[in-house]
């Protein structure tokens, strides 16, 4: 097409009707495209999210064979739900005999660059935190990302003591985040040299989340029976 043809094709400039027609017409085409793509991809995205979540949960409790979602109610109990609502959700994991292995709790907090989102496991029988999985983080590659790979840091969460007091309203020893190599108690988390801010952020997230959730879960264990 040359310029002469182009000039012929272009509508007369300045008429409001042409502008409304263009804007509304293109808006409708765009809306149709977005809705079509959304409808087509929605079930696939949901399936992908479920698979990613399952992978994370079974990494924390390798013997688990199924899981259920529970939501905390204002009355102080947990109720089983089917939809993943993001807020106040606790995952309960069961072995092949449908015996409760433990619960997995979501935690979020500010890292060095952006929000870190993670899951950590809680074994009510032993009253310890066992294992974690980082769901989302944009920490510095090679430094902050050590929170996902550093073996010594991961070891902090192998048997992290979160025993609940007799009245069941708080932890006997609140979790403490300490300097690298200075851990002396089972309720302390050693940070990582070279990734201090990121590892401290993870430690603080778990500290706050555990103080909020672990007493509630421990006192309402019967709610998680299958």
């Amino acid at each position: 097409m040359n310029d002469a043809q182009y000039v012929q094709l272009e509508p007369q400039a300045g008429r409001p009707w042409h502008m409304y027609r263009a804007m509304v017409g293109i808006g409708l085409i765009c809306a149709f495209v977005i809705v079509s793509v959304f409808q087509f991809t929605l079930p696939i995205i949901k399936q992908n999210k479920l698979e990613l979540l399952q992978k994370a949960l079974y990494e924390i409790f390798p013997d688990a064979r199924e899981f259920q979602r529970y939501q905390y109610q204002t009355e102080g109990n947990f109720v089983r739900i089917n939809e993943d609502l993001d807020e106040n959700i606790i995952f309960a994991l069961y072995d092949q005999d449908k015996k409760l292995l433990g619960t997995v709790i979501r935690a979020k907090g500010m890292g060095y660059q952006d929000l870190i989102e993670m899951l950590y496991g809680y074994q009510p029988q032993l009253q310890v935190i066992s294992g974690y999985h980082v769901l989302a983080s944009r920490e510095t590659p090679g430094l902050g990302t050590k929170i996902e790979t550093d073996k010594a840091f991961q070891k902090n969460f192998a048997q992290l003591d979160v025993s609940v007091n007799a009245s069941g309203d708080k932890l006997i020893n609140p979790i403490e985040v300490v300097k690298p190599g200075s851990k002396t108690h089972p309720w302390q988390i050693d940070t990582i040299t070279g990734a201090t801010i990121s590892s401290r952020a993870v430690g603080n997230m778990v500290t706050d989340s555990a103080a909020q959730w672990i007493p509630k879960i421990t006192t309402r264990l019967e709610d998680f029976e299958p």
Partner: protein
């Protein structure tokens, strides 16, 4: 740009049309490469090329948006008045960016997380708006498609070049495959933003050197 206007002013020559079409595609790969020659879309070029996979995925996503928006802008060019053209182009581009965002989530959620906000930021990639304004709004659908495919391929190749080098040096791997033994010390600066500037600078140097060499080899024009 001047080259494109020059094309329009020429009378259509059917015999030369195939060559012109090929040129529309080739120019984006080499002479008018969006990254190495025009320095367009630097934000994703530097931000997401910390691995070859991320670079390739961002390049393909941008190419998809570029091709689809060029086709639609070219198809509707007769109905878009000048006063509202930019708003219309942005609307079209934003639509395909939203579509590509859902498509990437459907293909691979972890890749979607790795690319993060930069998928949405394709909307403001000046490469796409510039092709809509400078080319698709003045040319036929087939030419606009070839232009977008060429520019998109050039952009993807550039991102892949950066991502590969940064991943090899910074992580000792390529597409996740370890290339070196365990005693290889990763050059972490390469996957940090500073490394992006270093590698981009080196690629621009290589690109210009090759272009200069080619120009020197070509026989002088007798015009």
């Amino acid at each position: 740009m001047s080259q494109e206007i020059h094309h329009h002013n020429q009378a259509p020559v059917p015999a030369a049309s195939d060559t012109q079409d090929t040129n529309e595609f080739i120019k984006g790969l080499w002479l008018q490469n969006p990254v190495f020659a025009q320095a367009l879309g630097m934000c994703p070029v530097l931000a997401v090329t910390n691995s070859a996979q991320n670079g390739l995925a961002m390049g393909l996503a941008t190419m998809f948006v570029l091709i689809m928006s060029n086709i639609l802008v070219s198809s509707l060019r007769a109905f878009i008045p000048r006063q509202v053209r930019i708003a219309c182009y942005i609307l079209i581009i934003a639509t395909f960016v939203t579509a590509v965002d859902y498509i990437i989530q459907a293909i691979n959620l972890e890749l979607h997380k790795a690319l993060g906000a930069f998928i949405s930021l394709i909307v403001v990639n000046c490469l796409i708006l510039s092709r809509a304004e400078a080319f698709a709004s003045k040319n036929t659908v087939s030419k606009s498609f070839l232009d977008a495919a060429g520019m998109g391929t050039g952009f993807t190749i550039a991102l892949l070049c950066l991502g590969s080098i940064r991943e090899i040096l910074g992580n000792g791997s390529l597409f996740g495959w370890q290339l070196f033994a365990d005693n290889f010390e990763n050059w972490i600066v390469m996957i940090l933003p500073g490394g992006g500037f270093f590698v981009l600078g080196l690629w621009v140097l290589v690109f210009n050197w090759l272009q200069q060499r080619q120009e020197n080899k070509e026989p002088p024009s007798h015009d």
